[in-house]
Symmetry: C2
C-alpha cells in the first residue's frame, strides 16, 4: 500500500517491472471505495502534458455568434468529440476573450491547460490579440473553415470560391440570369470568398454581378426587391436560405421557387431542420473535422503532417427550392424553357 505502487497500479499500463495480482486488486478496490480521482494537476505538472485539446470558436459564447448556424456547430462538436473520445483526449472550450493589458495573463490562462488547439470558424482577418497569444504559445494549432494567413499553418477548409461558383452555375443552367447574393454581417472571410465565386460565375456567363445584387438578410425591403428584379439567390449560408424561404419571401410577396429560386452554400448536414425544402451546394463538416483532428494529433506527436493544407470541394444537391426561370422575368427566356 505504498504511494509509488498505487500510482503504478492505477495507471495500469505494463510497468517495466511486474506487480503482484494481490496488491493490484487491493489498490483498485480501495481506490473505488474512497472515490479516488487522480489529480489532473499533479499528473499534468509531472508529465508536461494534459491530454486536453482546446477549441477556439468565433466568439466567447463559443461557435455561437450572431449568425445562426446551430446545425453546423452541433455537427462539428459531434465529430470533434467522437475523435477526442477515441483518442482519449479531453476537450476544453476556449473562451477566446482578450481585453489586453491588465488581465491578459488570466485571459490566456486557458491556453496553459491544453496540448493543442483547434481554431474553428474564427475570423482571422481582424487584429486579434487572443489569436496572437495562441500563435505565440508555441502549441500545435489546426484551423477549421478559415484560411490562416501565415504559410506554414495547418488547416481544413471548404473551397468557398468553388462553392459560390457552383451555386451560381446551377442557377445559370436553370435559365436564371438576375442572380443575387444573400448574406449577412459577420464572417467576412467565408462569405467574401463565396461571394467572389458567385461573381466569377456570373461574369463568365457574360453577366455583370451588380453591387446592388448583394443583399443583406436584415435589410431586404419590398422596394429593393422590386427594383432589382432578381429571379434567384445564392445564399452565403443555409440559415439565410431558410429564413428567406420561411419568412422573408412572404413579406416580399414572392414564393420559392415559383418567383425566386434559392440555393445556399453550406457545410451543414442535410438532415438539419434549416435544410428542409432546399436545394444545396454543400460539403459536410464531419470529414473536415476528422482530418483536422488527425493533423493535430500528428503535430502533437511531432510527426510530420502529410498534407497540412486541405481544401474540400462542394457539390450540388438538387431540391425543391430551384425552378427554371420564367420567361417573363428571365433575360434568357429561350434557354430557360428548354430546361426542366
Amino acid at each position: 500500500v505504498s504511494i509509488s505502487t498505487a500510482s503504478r497500479v492505477l495507471n495500469n499500463r505494463e510497468t517495466p517491472v511486474a506487480i503482484s495480482e494481490d496488491t493490484r486488486r487491493k489498490v483498485v478496490e480501495v481506490a473505488r471505495a474512497v472515490g479516488y480521482v487522480p489529480s489532473a494537476a499533479g499528473r499534468a505538472l509531472r508529465k508536461g502534458l494534459t491530454r486536453t485539446i482546446g477549441v477556439l470558436g468565433n466568439s466567447p459564447e463559443i461557435f455561437l455568434a450572431s449568425v445562426r448556424i446551430e446545425g453546423l456547430d452541433t455537427e462539428m462538436m459531434r465529430a470533434l468529440m467522437s475523435e477526442a473520445v477515441r483518442e482519449h483526449f479531453h476537450v476544453l472550450l476556449l473562451t477566446g476573450v482578450s481585453s489586453g493589458g491588465a488581465s491578459y495573463n488570466t485571459q490566456i490562462a486557458e491556453l496553459g491547460m491544453v496540448d493543442g488547439i483547434i481554431v474553428y470558424n474564427r475570423d482571422l482577418s481582424a487584429g486579434d490579440d487572443y489569436m496572437e497569444a495562441v500563435r505565440n504559445a508555441g502549441k500545435p494549432v489546426v484551423y477549421l473553415l478559415e484560411y490562416p494567413e501565415h504559410g506554414d499553418a495547418c488547416f481544413c477548409a471548404p473551397d468557398d470560391v468553388q462553392g459560390g461558383r457552383l451555386a451560381a452555375e446551377k442557377l445559370l443552367e436553370t435559365g436564371h440570369s438576375r442572380i443575387g447574393f444573400l448574406q449577412q454581417a459577420g464572417y467576412p472571410g467565408i462569405f467574401g470568398r463565396r461571394r467572389a465565386g458567385w461573381a466569377q460565375a456570373l461574369r463568365k456567363a457574360g453577366i455583370v454581378p451588380e453591387d446592388t445584387w448583394t443583399l443583406d438578410l436584415g435589410s431586404i425591403t419590398p422596394d429593393v426587391w422590386k427594383r432589382e428584379r432578381l429571379t434567384a439567390l445564392v445564399c452565403a449560408n443555409q440559415w439565410q436560405a431558410h429564413r428567406f424561404q420561411t419568412r422573408i419571401a412572404a413579406t416580399l410577396g414572392v414564393s420559392v421557387p415559383k418567383d425566386v429560386s434559392v440555393v445556399p452554400i453550406t457545410c451543414e448536414p442535410a438532415s438539419a431542420p434549416s435544410a428542409h425544402n432546399l436545394a444545396r451546394v454543400s460539403t459536410p463538416i464531419g470529414p473536415m473535422v476528422s482530418r483536422g483532428m488527425a493533423m493535430l494529433l500528428n503535430l502533437m506527436a511531432e510527426t510530420a503532417v502529410a498534407e497540412p493544407r486541405c481544401v474540400f470541394p462542394f457539390s450540388f444537391e438538387p431540391g425543391p427550392s430551384i425552378a427554371p426561370a420564367r420567361a417573363a422575368n428571365s433575360g434568357k427566356a429561350g434557354s430557360a424553357s428548354s430546361e426542366q
Copy 2:
C-alpha cells in the same frame, strides 16, 4: 527579475506588499515578448482549484445523442459559456465514457480537472458507473433538465408533467379528443413525464389515453394512423413535431393543421428552424442554465444555495400548427365548432 516577483506581477491582484512600477512594467513586457503562458497545472496543483467546470451530457458525443435537439444544445451552450466567461471559469466537456474495470482510472481522469460539474440532460434512471464516479468524486454537481434521485442534489428542470398537461389541454380546448402522444426512443425520464401529463389531462376530460395513441417517430405507418383516427398530436419534443409536419404528414397523406393539429413540448428557442410554423408549449433553456450556474458557483464557494431544487413551468405559444377539430373526426363535434 526574480521568480516570486514575476509571479506577483503577473497575477496582478493587489499583493499585501506593493511592487515598483518599474519592475511591473518590465515583467509584463518580457512575458508578452516571450509568449509566456502560465502553466495551469502548476497553478492548479498549488491552489487546489482549476477554475474549470465540467459539462456532462447524455452521451460521449456530448449533448449530441440520437434524438436531434441541436437548437436546444446550442442555446444551452450559449447560456453556459456566457455565464462561465462572466465568472472567469473555463469549461471542459466531459466525455462521460465509462466501460468500467481496466481503464476506469483513465476514464474518470477528466473529473480531476474540474472544480464543479453540470450534468445536462443525462438519463439518470439507468445504472451508470460514470455517474457513480461523479457522485463519489465529492465535487459540487448541479443537474439540468433531469430530476436526480437522491434528495439533496441541486437541479433546474422544466415541469414536464405540467407541460404535457398544458399541451393536451390546449388541444382539448380546441375541440380535439382523439389526441395522440408522439415520442421517440431515448430520454425515458423527460418523455415519460411529459407523456404522464398528457395522459392526466385526457383522463380529466373523461377520455381514455389509449396505449395505441402513443406513437413512435420512427414507426408511424399509414395503417396505424388510419386505425387510430387521431386528430391531434402532443409531441415529446420539437424535433418530432418538426419531422411530423415536414416529412411524415405527407407520407400519411394528411396535412397540418387541416387534418391533424400538432404541438410540441420544448425548451428550444422559438427562433430555431425546427420551431417554424409550430404552436408550442415551451419554457426557455437559458434561465435554467443561468440559475444552475449560480447554484454551482454557490456550491463551489461553499455558500448555501437558497433554492436548490428549481422547477420551471411551461407556457403556451399559439401558432399555425393547431386548428379546431373538424366535425367529421372529432368526438365532440359540438364544442369543436363552437370554438374559433
